[in-house]
Symmetry: C2
Subunit: 218 residues, 2 copies
């Protein structure tokens, strides 16, 4: 289990660093997906299922956490490459931290890298990591009012995964209202209601990932 | 609906400011409870039920959010005094922000003030707000591994509420294991498994609040 300790890089140049990293990833044919959510929205469970389903792709995972290595261990147990990044108390990943993480992870012969960002709906939305796609997960138990409270995260995301869909019968969550609220903030956002437990809705999410893969030019 | 826009105060002096605020609150006989959790753990639902159950007490609520006023509106609809504080993008409340919020709210003839901190398991743990009690909420759907991932929040809290207990049958959550993990980080932490929906476990939490009320000296 590889663990890397990261320090925040200079944020003034973050947008430029992120743009440069994105261009390099495009050239290398690597799709980096920045996965953001609050704690316990099911990022690791979603990743586990996605990795199993897309077994023809070469997938690696950069896990960012304040502490612990449980998520990276779960991913490694599936046979995927994973590295655990510790963020030195920072509640987000920036482009410099992501670059350092990717270098430690290694991205040769990799199609798809998931950056599992720190569990938090606030800070991660403010920092461009260099990922080509930003995906946020909101789990059904968290409530359909979250777009009202964390608007930036919804505005900045390319896709919204509504996870733990199997729990819908037990919670007072209005799916249509939530999607409407998200689309009011971000009309282009792709929405994938799904359950990584039952598999419902996984196919649409996985097809969207495939569509966005970067063609290898070298 | 009162809304206040707050700016971060100088953090170097935060511990001193927090201590001074706590002493003043003690003198005024006001118990301030700093309520922290991730997004959607059920802070507002818990508060709504607690306010209804403790109707003999004078309770006020300081809601902190990046944006929106939904929580304060919910609380006001119950007849309790509430103010919505906007944190200017900050992911936590500090002592200076809390003081400004309390002044705008008014604490005369108040027994108990809940500070509903920004939904986040990271930053709020790092800042003493001046509250006499720190309470964190972890909801069953978030998972029993959270003490491993957000150790500071568990270490810094006087009580841990395990909320949405009614959802236990639908999730793979080991109650004993979670409590064991929390107590390993913080042997003195009080644990209250409860459901604000069914009422189960509410009495123990409310009795604990009553025990901690500050006797009015003036």
């Amino acid at each position: 289990m590889k663990v890397i300790e990261l320090k925040e890089t200079v944020t003034a140049s973050n947008d430029r660093d992120a743009e440069a990293l994105r261009e390099e990833l495009n050239l290398r044919g690597v799709l980096l997906v920045n996965l953001m959510s609050g704690p316990g929205a099911g990022k690791t469970t979603l990743l586990s299922r996605t990795i199993r389903d897309l077994s023809d792709l070469k997938i690696a995972v950069l896990e960012a956490d304040l502490d612990a290595t449980v998520d990276a261990e779960t991913i490694e147990a599936l046979g995927a490459r994973a590295i655990q990044a510790h963020t030195d108390g920072m509640c987000h990943m920036d482009a410099g931290m992501t670059r350092a993480g990717l270098e430690a992870l290694g991205t040769e012969q990799t199609d798809l890298v998931f950056l599992e960002n720190v569990g938090n709906l606030i800070c991660p939305a403010e920092f461009d990591t260099g990922a080509q796609l930003r995906v946020m997960i909101l789990s059904i138990p968290e409530g359909d009012d979250k777009p009202l409270k964390y608007p930036l995260m919804f505005r900045e995301s390319d896709a919204l995964i509504l996870s733990k869909l199997d729990a819908l019968p037990y919670f007072d969550f209005d799916l249509d209202k939530c999607i409407q609220r998200a689309k009011r903030l971000n009309p282009k956002i792709q929405v994938f209601p799904l359950s990584a437990k039952t598999g419902e809705g996984m196919a649409a999410w996985e097809a969207w990932l495939r569509e966005n893969l970067i063609r290898k030019t070298v």
